[in-house]
């Protein structure tokens, strides 16, 4: 905890302020462009659902990828295994994002007088799948970043537009067919859709494919774990 949030003044509070400012910013911009959001009546709630669902992947994947390099010193203790640092980061970030989600969404639901009919199975399933994809990709990246520094740069460049193509500030099914099919290839857009199904009971999520995401998450995890296991050599070496 202290090692993650201790550096900045305000510490843990930043975990909360960062998404709030993002959501507020997007809401202001889009409220200027159109009158009603694609779902419900509240712009902030619409963005928050998308943004927080996405964060369950994004913040985790990034934080996990540096689990080893960020804990180099502690790994000099033989009693600390590399996977320990990954799991503790996984838990810390998952709980942090969950806490942020509860605070932000809770506040917005009350504020927007949104009918409080949350469907928890959908929410939990979306969160778990997102976190598994992040865990798989994080594990893989720990090894690949250490082995191929160029890949780290490429990964950063390729993943930058991910935010735009995950159906966060729009609904994938509202796009023209060609663009929609492309966005629906991105498993994260399904995760955002499932998360929104958990908040908006009326949302039908056309094109949502539960099986596709589940398979993708499992395969990510498998690849990540195998790379991490077979890449032990590069993990502890400096």
């Amino acid at each position: 905890m202290s090692s993650r949030f201790g550096r900045n003044p305000g510490g843990y509070l930043w975990a909360l302020l960062d998404p709030i400012s993002h959501i507020a910013f997007m809401s202001i911009i889009f409220m200027a462009i159109s009158r009603t959001p694609a779902l419900g009546t509240s712009f902030p709630l619409f963005f928050a659902t998308g943004y927080i669902a996405f964060q369950f992947y994004q913040s985790l994947a990034g934080y996990l990828a540096s689990a080893i390099s960020g804990n180099r010193a502690l790994l000099s203790y033989p009693a600390v295994a590399p996977i320990d640092t990954v799991f503790s980061r996984y838990l810390l970030q998952l709980l942090t994002t969950a806490l942020v989600g509860v605070c932000v969404l809770g506040a917005l639901i009350v504020y927007a007088k949104h009918p409080a009919a949350l469907h928890f199975p959908h929410l939990l399933s979306a969160i778990l799948k997102a976190s598994w994809i992040a865990l798989g990709i994080g594990l893989a990246n720990i090894v690949l970043f250490a082995r191929f520094p160029l890949y780290e740069k490429l990964f950063g460049v390729v993943m930058r537009p991910l935010f735009l193509v995950s159906g966060i500030f729009y609904l994938p099914e509202a796009l023209p067919p060609a663009a929609r099919d492309l966005v629906l290839l991105n498993p994260l857009s399904h995760i955002v859709m499932e998360f929104r199904m958990g908040v908006y009971p009326q949302y039908r999520a056309l094109g949502y494919d539960a099986e596709y995401v589940a398979w993708f998450a499992c395969i990510c995890l498998m690849i990540g774990m195998s790379l991490f296991t077979f890449g032990r050599g590069v993990i502890r070496a400096r």
Binding site: A73, Y77, P78
Partner: protein, 219 residues
């Protein structure tokens, strides 16, 4: 006892492969402290990491009996954003010793004053070394792996740490890497020379020092 059995370790650094040990079989007996000698970059620290268990061998195996410390080095193995005290607690927990006892011992030993509660990244290298030394002396091991950390702090602290270290060595052994022959003479009776991927054990430290010095002259 620590035994290497046909052990081989290669490291790859920026595309360059280097053999640290090549098909080495060797037994380090219990009851005698060992000085590990070798030229710069020969892989002495890597060997300590293998003994500690933080690095795996490429082939062969290592058999260890007894509780072995982590490699104690100048750098210390501290998480910079945590305070000295939090780092000590972390060590106490992963080694299963009494947390309060260890914290009290280190606080008293390392003489960090108010810095004990400050993040380790604000420490000077001397303070870090004092903390590292305090923590490692607070946990009992059968083998202490020491990487170039014998002279820490001012004269007073040095005297104190040498006294404690000697006490520990009555019941424990040390495997020590140092470039200073006098430091090795202070603590070790036997020696191991690492040269060209081969390890040679000498019952007499003086013999090992002679061999090492001859090796240094050859190149």
């Amino acid at each position: 006892m620590i035994r290497l059995d046909r052990a081989t370790k290669l490291v790859r650094m920026k595309g360059v492969r280097k053999t640290i040990i090549d098909d080495v079989s060797l037994t380090i007996p219990r009851g005698k402290s060992v000085g590990l000698l070798g030229r710069n970059g020969a892989g002495k620290s890597t060997l300590l990491q293998i003994i500690a268990g933080t690095l795996d061998l490429d082939s062969g195996r290592i058999v260890k009996e007894g509780k072995i410390s982590w490699p104690l080095g100048f750098q210390g193995s501290f998480q910079g954003n945590l305070s000295g005290e939090q780092n000590v607690r972390f060590v106490a927990r992963i080694y299963g010793v009494d947390t309060q006892e260890l914290v009290a011992y280190v606080k008293d030993f390392a003489e960090l004053g108010e810095f004990f509660q400050a993040p380790v990244r604000t420490y000077s290298s001397g303070m870090k070394a004092r903390l590292a030394f305090g923590v490692s002396m607070g946990v009992r091991f059968d083998y202490y792996l020491v990487d170039e950390i014998t002279a820490v702090g001012d004269t007073n602290f040095k005297r104190k740490s040498q006294k404690v270290f000697r006490e520990r060595l009555s019941g424990s052994d040390v495997i020590m890497v140092s470039h200073s022959a006098s430091a090795l003479r202070d603590y070790c009776e036997t020696g191991i020379v690492l040269e060209d991927g081969k390890l040679t054990y000498y019952d007499d430290l003086e013999h090992a020092i002679d061999v090492h010095e001859n090796n240094m002259k050859r190149h």
